[in-house]
């Protein structure tokens, strides 16, 4: 099911029909139509659409003359790519070593409680996607998490409630 490549109906997210494949062509052209830049192209597509859908990848394979298996191996190997639409807001909890010894596991439970999904999942209303990351590089703030571009240091349950409420 996770490899069906189709937008699940219940989510009401972007339908594949609405995808502007022109944008995909543009991104490919920006990188000179070079299959060596495949990972860079996928990064730009992920950033643009918030996921890598099947029609988009098919177009990519067509343009660059690469097998579908290669595109999907890349899409499933790297953590940054998603085969399902991501939420509007990203929440990532740092599980780096320094944060771990300062209690990152407990923070993660609090966040899971507050948002209602496990790490790696997106809320049904597509508001949040929760993920874990292996070092944000601000160890002095540990245990730390990011909500979009903001860093939050060791929020308690109440602070987390506020954060959830404050985002659209």
């Amino acid at each position: 099911m996770w490899l069906s490549g189709e937008s699940p109906e219940i989510r009401g997210g972007m339908s594949t029909m609405e995808q502007e494949l022109d944008k995909v062509d543009e991104i490919i052209d920006n990188h000179g139509g070079n299959s060596e830049a495949l990972i860079q192209i996928l990064l730009d597509i992920q950033h643009e659409y918030r996921w890598l859908s099947k029609p988009v990848l098919l177009r990519l394979c067509e343009r660059l003359d690469i097998p579908l298996s290669r595109a999907y191996h890349l899409a499933t190997f790297y953590k940054h790519f998603s085969l399902l639409p991501q939420g509007r807001h990203s929440v990532s909890v740092c599980l780096g070593t320094a944060c771990h010894v300062r209690g990152a596991t407990r923070l993660l439970s609090r966040v899971t409680e507050a948002i209602g999904v496990e790490a790696g999942q997106t809320t049904p209303d597509e508001k949040f996607t929760l993920s874990t990351v292996n070092c944000l590089g601000c160890c002095a703030l540990g245990p730390v998490m990011m909500v979009d571009q903001d860093y939050v240091s060791n929020p308690n349950a109440k602070a987390l409630e506020q954060i959830v409420a404050s985002r659209e």
């Binding site: 490899l3 069906s4 490549g5 099947k54 097998p67 579908l68 298996s69 999907y72 191996h73 499933t76």
Partner: protein, 271 residues
């Protein structure tokens, strides 16, 4: 006759670079100067072996009828070096290291041990790990290394990702019907049904080449005829790991003897 053939495969080998990981074979670095493909002398298990430059330790060993167990190796396919069962000990000067013989190139003057205590110990535990995925590892092999079942919990999935099917489809058939997805323990082989429908019915006279290289018989035999199976809506990809015992037994009977011996712990017959 045999030795010549082995040397030929050595010469053929130079076109495919050692250690290529992907579906496409990579060309070797720029051509060497005029004295190409010299002879290399090394010892394997105390026996002197003459090999051609560019051969791997595995090929050199086989040319001297010395047995090394392998799982992910296949003559027609690029060397993959993933199962590590073919690991051997190489002594060069005073330095000893463990390398994968299917990829390590022969070197003048090295001493290779294929069954040292260190290697036997490692193979034993590797086989125990393989058993967690695939219970039908040949009994001869298990007995040879004194493997006891049961130390590790079974996580039977039949496929242990040797990559032979993926490489076969990509390099020999150039169809890319099969591919890897995921990473780490989530890594698996999948089939892309849309591509399968195009390519599989005519592959190897309808017999599906990937099934003939698969050591565990995991690839479902109905795959070439997927259309009716899946109905109108084809999934994008379908994992190859099956838990269907009938399917596996079916393959073990129909695949034919030439595939099985090296899994049962004997050297591949030449020819």
């Amino acid at each position: 006759m045999t030795t010549e053939r082995r040397k030929d495969s050595g010469a053929r080998r130079t076109r495919v670079a050692v250690g290529s990981a992907g579906a496409e074979a990579r060309t070797r670095p720029a051509a060497r100067p005029a004295e190409v493909a010299g002879l290399v002398t090394l010892t394997i298990n105390g026996q002197t072996v003459e090999a051609t430059e560019g051969m791997t330790l595995l090929e050199a060993a086989r040319s001297a009828d010395i047995y090394i167990p392998t799982l992910c190796h296949h003559e027609q396919l690029s060397n993959y070096g993933a199962c590590r069962l073919c690991s051997v000990e190489v002594l060069r000067g005073r330095r000893s290291r463990v390398v994968a013989s299917c990829i390590y190139p022969v070197e003048e003057g090295i001493e290779v041990q294929t069954e040292s205590e260190r290697i036997a110990k490692h193979r034993k535990i590797m086989l125990e790990l393989i058993l967690t995925r695939w219970p039908w590892v040949s009994e001869d092999l298990l007995e040879k290394y004194g493997v006891q079942r049961g130390r590790f919990q079974e996580r039977t999935s039949f496929c242990f990702l040797c990559g032979l099917c993926v490489r076969y489809c990509a390099e020999v058939k150039k169809a890319d019907v099969l591919g890897f997805v995921g990473r780490g323990t989530e890594r698996q082989v999948v089939i892309y049904p849309e591509k399968a429908l195009e390519a599989c019915p005519t592959c190897d006279g309808g017999k599906m080449g990937c099934r003939s290289v698969c050591p565990t018989g995991t690839i479902p035999n109905e795959f070439a005829h997927t259309g009716p199976r899946f109905g109108k809506k084809l999934p994008l990809a379908y994992p190859v790991r099956s838990y269907d015992e009938d399917n596996v037994r079916d393959v073990l009977h129909t695949v034919g003897d030439w595939r099985m011996p090296w899994v049962r712990g004997q050297a591949r017959p030449s020819g």
